[in-house]
Assembly symmetry: C2
Homo-oligomer: 256 residues x 2
């Protein structure tokens, strides 16, 4: 396959990190070789995989700013076939440090190219912004997954996000595709959820994934044990949803 | 009073915008003259107050980048005594545009100083990051309010955030104080919430506000009607919580 997928949304708290970790783990459990790349200064993907950022010597910061080879920072995780290129807090200075670098939107793409064929999937967890780090992820990706909440502010942001993605696609990566919009924290008891879901499906049609991930507290608990949903609570509604999502991601990746 | 308060947290989706709008409205209803400043590129505070960002001619972007006087962009809202300095999507380029400006951390403080005495409270809604825009808000503030969710990833981020705030305080604003950490989307039925709450109160002691805002769907519905909680559902648990929070903010602001 050799696909690079980014989890992007400038709206905060929509489930980007949760989706990156659990889709990554689900693909790894099916035998695919997966690398998760964490480019979030708050290093949530790194923390969720039970790796303490302060104990890491070199991180994605060193790869993007000091030209360290990405294979020098990759670490194994507790899930077989799932590796991680960790982040640290110093990533928050990267926009400033990369400001003077020419083609500073392509730094991540260049860093990934020597290892792209070593993995079936490379998943990039992005910060809640459309700054230089997220633009790098979009420039390096084959497909993007956009987790959204079913509320007013998230929906408003979605139109803006799709416009920005199309601009970045034209400038830096014409082959970039939206693999899917992922409705997350769905609660069918709330009118707001049902109204928003029908609006999303009406406006964005087949760009919206069939899988809807319901609110499931196990998904919020799992990171504090450093576990993915598959090792923490595989039979929960969260576990079932992510099993389904992984199948849909595989199917849609083949069309990228 | 003449206090500037910023709502800050680099973790996404913790309730910064919701708290800014509803604390602002609550203070305005008590007769205080309040200005909300939106410096989030996704302009969520502007949207929540029923102002369409695309119809705004000049925004905080023009104030920060082109030296437009902030009083030229201030608009009234549907709540008496509550005004807004709106944001637009072009704010997402501000870190790059401000990179070459000397003392670029103080641009917001300078923009606010001519009008600071016209308002009892100026509330700044920040994006989910600690980039230059958020640093500007911290440099311009008397106090900060940190909305947090009661989950693992939010708690991990809180320690990092407090460290970063102390560094910014030493460099740019020695008088800056944490007015309070606001537990948000509290759900007493979840173990994760109760465990997190006792951890937050143990680690951060009197920095944590007494008011806890419970999960309340009215808070998520109100922005889609362009209303604050006080005009949409004042008797809801969200409305009651924000009434209590406003009283606590007034009390703590007197000590700043
Ligand atoms: N379906 C779900 N049900 C319940 N909790 C969830 C679900 N998905 C995510 N969460 C929880 O919601 C919180 C926000 O999710 P997450 O951190 O993955 O979002 P994010 O988009 O990566 O946030 P940020 O914008 O800060 O990067 C986390 O505590 C996570 O555990
Ligand atoms: N106590 C609450 N109960 C229920 N929903 C809430 C509560 N507080 C906030 N919300 C909803 O949660 C979502 C996230 O809140 P909000 O947008 O205010 O967070 P934020 O920190 O400003 O996000 P961002 O990081 O993207 O700026 C919104 O849809 C909001 O309406
Ligand atoms: Mg995240
Ligand atoms: Mg916000």
């Amino acid at each position: 396959m050799n696909k690079v997928l980014s989890f992007v949304n400038q709206k905060g708290g929509t489930g980007k990190t949760t989706a990156t970790i659990n889709v990554g783990a689900g693909l790894a459990l099916k035998g695919y070789k997966v690398l998760v790349i964490d480019i979030e200064p708050q290093s949530n993907a790194t923390l969720s995989l039970a790796i303490e950022p302060s104990e890491i010597k070199k991180s994605m910061y060193d790869v993007l700013i000091d030209n360290v080879h990405i294979s020098d920072i990759i670490v194994p995780t507790s899930t077989e076939n799932l590796s991680l290129a960790p982040a640290k807090i110093d990533l928050s200075n990267s926009s400033v440090n990369l400001a003077d670098v020419s083609h500073n939107q392509m730094v991540l793409k260049e860093a990934i190219s020597p290892i792209k064929n070593d993995y079936d999937f490379i998943l990039v967890d992005c910060p809640p912004s459309l700054d230089l780090l997220s633009v790098n992820a979009l420039a390096a990706s084959d497909g993007i997954i956009i987790p959204v909440l079913c509320d007013y502010l998230s929906l408003e942001g979605l139109k803006q996000l799709i416009d920005s993605i199309n601009r970045i696609k034209e400038k830096f990566n014409p082959d970039l595709r939206i693999l899917g919009i992922l409705p997350n924290m769905v609660d069918y008891r709330r009118n707001l959820t049902n109204d928003s879901l029908s609006l999303i499906r009406k406006n964005f049609k087949d760009k919206v994934l069939k899988t809807e991930v319901r609110v499931c507290v196990s998904l919020a608990e799992a990171p504090s044990y450093g576990k993915t949903i598959f090792s923490y609570a595989p039979a929960s509604t969260g576990g079932e949803a992510y099993k389904k999502l992984v199948k849909e991601v595989i199917k849609r990746s083949k069309k990228l």
